[in-house]
C-alpha cells in the first residue's frame, strides 16, 4: 500500500488517511459498545432487540473500518489490536458516542444526534475517492437509515408523549447538545479530506444535519438548544472521563492475557 494518495493536486499522507478512518471506526465502535450495555434491559422486548440490532450494525461497521485502517497503516495491527490495545487518548471517536446511558431518553438523544451525523456522512462517503471506504459507506448507509428511523421515531414519541417523557428527553437534549459542536465543526483534517475528495464537505454535513435534526425536534415539540462552542473534541483524542471506564471494561481480557487468541 502506498504511503500517500495523490488526489487532484493534493497529497494525503498515510497517517492522515488512517487518522480519518479511525474517527469513523471508533465512533461506530464506542456507540455500539454503549448500546451493547443495554441488551436484556430494554423497556420492551421489541426495543431491546432493536437496540441490539443497532449495536450489532455499529460494531460491524467498526470492524470493517478498523480492518481497513490497519491495512492502510500496514503495521501489523488488525481490528482487535486497534480496538483492544489503544489507550483513551489514541481513540478518535466523537465524544458524543461515549456518553453514558443515563436513561432511555439519554440513549435515544445520543443515538438520534449521532445517527443523523452518520447518515449524512456515509451518504456523502459513498462517493469517496478512498474506494474501500466508499464500499463500506454503501453498506453502512442502509443501516444508518434504519437507525435514524428508530431513534427519530422515539425522540418524537418521548418529546410528544407524557409530561415525564418530555421532561426527561429535554434534560437529555440539554446535557448532550454541546457535543454536537464536534460533529459539525471541521478541523484541519476534515477540511483536507474534503479537499482531496476522501471525506465530505463539512458545510454540506452541517446544513443537512441541521435540517434533519431541526425538523425532528419540531415534531417532537422540543425547542432546539442554542449552539454552544465546545472545543474538547474526542476526534482529536480529547475525551470525556467516560471513555476510560468504557475501555477498562471492553479491553480487560486482552490486557489480562496478553498474547492470547480468543
Amino acid at each position: 500500500m502506498s504511503a500517500a494518495v495523490e488526489v487532484g493536486s493534493a497529497q494525503v499522507s498515510l497517517a492522515e488517511r488512517v487518522e480519518y478512518l479511525l474517527r469513523l471506526a471508533d465512533t461506530s465502535l464506542i456507540a455500539g459498545q454503549r448500546l451493547a450495555e443495554l441488551l436484556g434491559h430494554g423497556p420492551t422486548l421489541e426495543e431491546d432487540l432493536a437496540l441490539g440490532n443497532i449495536s450489532l450494525d455499529l460494531i460491524g461497521q467498526a470492524r470493517l473500518l478498523l480492518a481497513l485502517a490497519g491495512r492502510i497503516e500496514d503495521n501489523g495491527r488488525d481490528e482487535d489490536a486497534l480496538a483492544f490495545r489503544r489507550d483513551a487518548p489514541q481513540f478518535r471517536n466523537m465524544s458524543l458516542a461515549e456518553q453514558p446511558n443515563e436513561d432511555f431518553a439519554a440513549t435515544i438523544v445520543r443515538q438520534c444526534l449521532l445517527d443523523a451525523w452518520q447518515l449524512e456522512t456515509y451518504e456523502s462517503l459513498t462517493g469517496s475517492r478512498e474506494e474501500a471506504l466508499a464500499d463500506i459507506a454503501h453498506k453502512a448507509l442502509k443501516e444508518c437509515r434504519y437507525h435514524w428511523r428508530f431513534s427519530a421515531g422515539w425522540l418524537v414519541r418521548l418529546g410528544d408523549g407524557t409530561e415525564e417523557s418530555h421532561a426527561r428527553v429535554s434534560a437529555a437534549l440539554g446535557a448532550l447538545w454541546r457535543f454536537t459542536d464536534e460533529l459539525l465543526t471541521p478541523d484541519a483534517l476534515d477540511a483536507r479530506m474534503a479537499v482531496c475528495g476522501i471525506g465530505p464537505a463539512p458545510s454540506l454535513i452541517r446544513e443537512r444535519w441541521d435540517t434533519r435534526v431541526s425538523a425532528t425536534l419540531a415534531e417532537a415539540k422540543l425547542p432546539k438548544p442554542p449552539h454552544r462552542h465546545y472545543p474538547w473534541h474526542g476526534k482529536r483524542g480529547v475525551h470525556s472521563e467516560h471513555l476510560g471506564h468504557l475501555l477498562t471494561e471492553m479491553q480487560f481480557l486482552p490486557r489480562v492475557y496478553p498474547g492470547a487468541t480468543w
Binding site: 451493547a36 422486548l45 441490539g52 432511555f104 407524557t162 481480557l253 492475557y257
Partner: protein, 337 residues
C-alpha cells in the same frame, strides 16, 4: 350453559358422555399424529399444560439473556462480541415467538410477564448460575444450548401446531449457538495454559447444572405421563439426560477436558455412560429461589420493567394523540405489554 345443564340429572349425564366422547376424539387425533390448532377444541388441562410449558420456555429465553449479556461488553474480540450480541438477540427473539405461541392459547403476554416478575412463574434454573469468566460463555453455548436442543428437538413434533412450528426455527438457531459455543471452548482448550484452565473451570461449574436442566428423574416427574399421552413430550427426562451425556462426554474428551464426575464410565453392556448421583437437593434449592443468582435475575427483569414504564406510557400517550381511538388503544396495549 354448562351449569344450567347440570341442574337436570339426565342432561348432566348427556353432558358427561358428550364430554367423554370429545376427549376420545381429541385423543384419537393426537394418536393419529394430527396437529391441534388454536381454534380446535382441546381439554382445559391440555391448554393449561401448554400455557405453563410455553410460558416457562419463553421466560427462560428472556432471563437467559442476562447471564450471557453479562459478558457482551467484555468479549475479548470484536468477532466474539458480534457473535454474542447476535446470540443474545436470538434468545430475545425466541422469547417473542414463544409468547406469541402462548397467546394463541388465550393468555396475554402482559399477563405472562406479570407472572414472571411476581415470581409465580418458573424459568429454567440453569440461568440462576453466574457467568464468572469468559469461558462460561462457551460452556453455556456448548452444554446449556446442547441440553436445550436435546429437550427441544422432540418439541418440533409436539401435538400443538403453533408450538411445534415455533420450535423448528428455535432449534435451528440453538444448534448454531451450540456449535459456536463449542468452537469457543475449543479455542480456549487449545489456547494458553490459563485459557485451558479457564475452560476446565467452566466445565466444572456448568456440568451438573446442565444435567439438572432435564428436570427431576422419571420417578419424581409429576407432568411426564400425561404430557407424553398428549404428545407434548416425546421422551422422559431420564431418557433425554442419558442421550445428552452420551453425546457430550466424547466432545469433552475431544476438547481435552475432564468431566467433573468420578463415577462416570462407559458401560459396554448398555452402550451408555453411567454417571454419578445428581445433587437433587441443590436442584430443589435453586428451584425454590435459593440459587446463587435467582434474586439478581428477577431483580434485573423487574428493574428493566420498572425503568421502562415511563417509556411505554409515553408511547401509549403519543399513539393516543396521533391515531384514531381504536388504533391508539391497540398501539397502547402493545407498548404496555
Amino acid at each position: 350453559m354448562y351449569t344450567q345443564a347440570l341442574d337436570s340429572p339426565a342432561a348432566g349425564a348427556d353432558e358427561a358422555s358428550e364430554e367423554r366422547e370429545r376427549l376420545e376424539r381429541f385423543q384419537a387425533r393426537i394418536d393419529r399424529d394430527e396437529k391441534i390448532e388454536p381454534k380446535d377444541w382441546m381439554p382445559e388441562a391440555y391448554r393449561q399444560t401448554l400455557i405453563r410449558q410455553i410460558a416457562q420456555h419463553a421466560h427462560s429465553e428472556i432471563v437467559g439473556m442476562l447471564p450471557e449479556g453479562n459478558w457482551i461488553t467484555r468479549a475479548p474480540s470484536l468477532r466474539r462480541k458480534a457473535v454474542l450480541i447476535a446470540k443474545v438477540q436470538d434468545e430475545g427473539g425466541h422469547g417473542m415467538y414463544l409468547y406469541s405461541a402462548a397467546e394463541t392459547l388465550g393468555v396475554a403476554r402482559g399477563e405472562l410477564i406479570e407472572q414472571l416478575l411476581s415470581g409465580r412463574a418458573k424459568y429454567s434454573s440453569i440461568f440462576n448460575y453466574p457467568t464468572l469468566t469468559w469461558a462460561d460463555i462457551g460452556a453455556i453455548g456448548w452444554l446449556v444450548d446442547g441440553a436445550a436442543i436435546m429437550n427441544q428437538v422432540p418439541l418440533c413434533r409436539c401435538s400443538y401446531g403453533p408450538y411445534a412450528r415455533a420450535m423448528v426455527r428455535i432449534c435451528k438457531e440453538e444448534s448454531f449457538h451450540q456449535r459456536q459455543g463449542y468452537e469457543l471452548m475449543l479455542t480456549l482448550a487449545r489456547g494458553s495454559e490459563d485459557q485451558h484452565a479457564m475452560a476446565q473451570d467452566a466445565l466444572n461449574r456448568w456440568w451438573w447444572p446442565s444435567l439438572m436442566m432435564f428436570g427431576p428423574s422419571d420417578a419424581h416427574s409429576v407432568h411426564t405421563a400425561q404430557s407424553m399421552r398428549w404428545k407434548i413430550k416425546r421422551f422422559t427426562n431420564d431418557e433425554l439426560r442419558q442421550k445428552f451425556i452420551d453425546v457430550t462426554v466424547p466432545q469433552a474428551e475431544y476438547l481435552g477436558l475432564t468431566v467433573p464426575d468420578p463415577d462416570l464410565h462407559w458401560n459396554e453392556a448398555s452402550q451408555h455412560y453411567r454417571f454419578g448421583e445428581i445433587n437433587w437437593s441443590e436442584f430443589q434449592a435453586v428451584l425454590k429461589g435459593e440459587g446463587p443468582c435467582n434474586r439478581e435475575r428477577l431483580e434485573a427483569r423487574r428493574a428493566a420493567h420498572e425503568n421502562g414504564r415511563w417509556v411505554r406510557e409515553a408511547a401509549a400517550a403519543y399513539a393516543a394523540k396521533h391515531q384514531g381511538p381504536a388504533r391508539a388503544m391497540k398501539a397502547g396495549a402493545g407498548a404496555l405489554s
